[in-house]
Amino acid sequence: MHGTVEARGRSPAEPRPLASSTEQIAVRNLSLRYGDGADAVHALTDIDFAVRDGEFVSIVGPSGCGKSTLLRILAGLMPPTQGQALLAGSAITGPRRDIGVVFQSPVLFPWRTVLANAEVPVHVQGLNRKAMRARALDLLKLVGLEGFEGRYPRELSGGMQQRVSLVRALIHDPALLLMDEPFGALDAMTRETMHIELQRIWMERRKTIVFITHSIAEAVFLADRVLVMTPRPGKIGAVLNIELPRPRALDVVNTEGFGIYVRQIRAALNATGGAL
């Protein structure tokens, strides 16, 4: 059984149409094991959770808890040993066209301009270039990169590069956005700006997002729900509904409600020996 922490923030929950939401991701009894028998390493054990359509879920845990492995399975980059992950009702058995991934580093191609980098999925998946060009320009504007379309990655700051990779993850209008510690390499101030921007983009586009991080504050700030992962074997130790009203401003971190969530997550991590 997973210990579920009941959490109540001070602010009333934002009225969200939960009833009409459908299950977008379903992860069932998912396990990943390296090796066999006594030497087997259990990277993930009996992972079970669901993500509603349009929901923002953070998975927080210390390094080595298997959270990145879980994301790779959701992205179809590796198969689980047991159980399955479903996206919109169909099992994820390999890379899919309806998933967008943002990695820890921007992973841009230095020989492509900002616009051409954003359009990589268009070229890979043979989408309508004309329609996608308009969409690319639109998204670049959304992340504040208007006027930088013709620049090359090396002319951009780290934060700007990560914005390009966000546009690239959104361009083919995926049903699911997977983010693997996307702001981990950015400085603290740029990171805060990116939190605000990601929240704004998410509220505008209402994508289903699974966001992996090792920062408790980042997880709480961004998510509707936080899954706490504990290591060896990697499993979900606690689930918290974050009922802070949106849009959340940066100073929400100073509120009592925010602090309660952070303490609860830390307690959940400590309880299972996964102290951060």
Partner: protein, 269 residues
Amino acid sequence: MSHAITRGTTGLTLRLVLVAVVLGAWEAGVRHFEIAPYILPPPSSIFAGLWRGLQSGIYIKHAGVTLAETFMGFTLGTMLAFILGTAVALSRRVEYFLYPFIVMFQAMPKVALAPLIVVWFGLGLTSKVINAALVAFFPLMVNTIVGLRSADEDRVNLLRSLAASRWQIFWMLQLPNAMPYIFAGLEIAMIFALIGAIVAEFVGAEQGLGVLIQSMNFNLDVAGQFGVLLILSVIGLILNGLITRLRRRVLFWDAPRATNTSLRKEPGT
């Protein structure tokens, strides 16, 4: 300030003055110590010989032959190297079966094959082209393999996560990613092709700058040989310049980590 010297017209003037001083000392030394012209000719007779050779058209004719051999050998060798290098980089099976041959040939000094090549393919153009191709082949093949394999794993995963095919990963990532390596290989291959052509001409040929050097050597025309060497280094510079220019065009995005193998560095870049 050392920087101020290497920049601008003052620097250029100083360089020319230095060259003039060295040539002057050479001339004076040869005259003063009365060194025999078949050991070390003075610069004045080298330039006179060069001028005569250029006027008579004999240099141009032989240089044209050597250049043709070099270009054909370079094209043949680098094309095969690129195809084979790509096959090795993309297929473990191809690598497995070709590996013994690659290791054996790589350790061997390719110019040592020149006598055999001339026996097999005769005194004409073919043997020179093949020898040039053989010498030019390896630097590019090795660099092609390394370049194609050096694709960043995150970038591969990104394309895979978009459900890209193996060929899309090759065209969109591996090939452009390998271009800096390939150009470094091409720069070496170009000069190697010239070496291959000259060596094969030494072994046995009817025309070419290598033949000219040997016949001048036979006639104790040392000044003439220096003339040919000058022409060869000019040819080498031009060939290298061609690749460098092409490289700058193709690799505009790779400016910061330029792996320029040419000796001449642009001041202020």
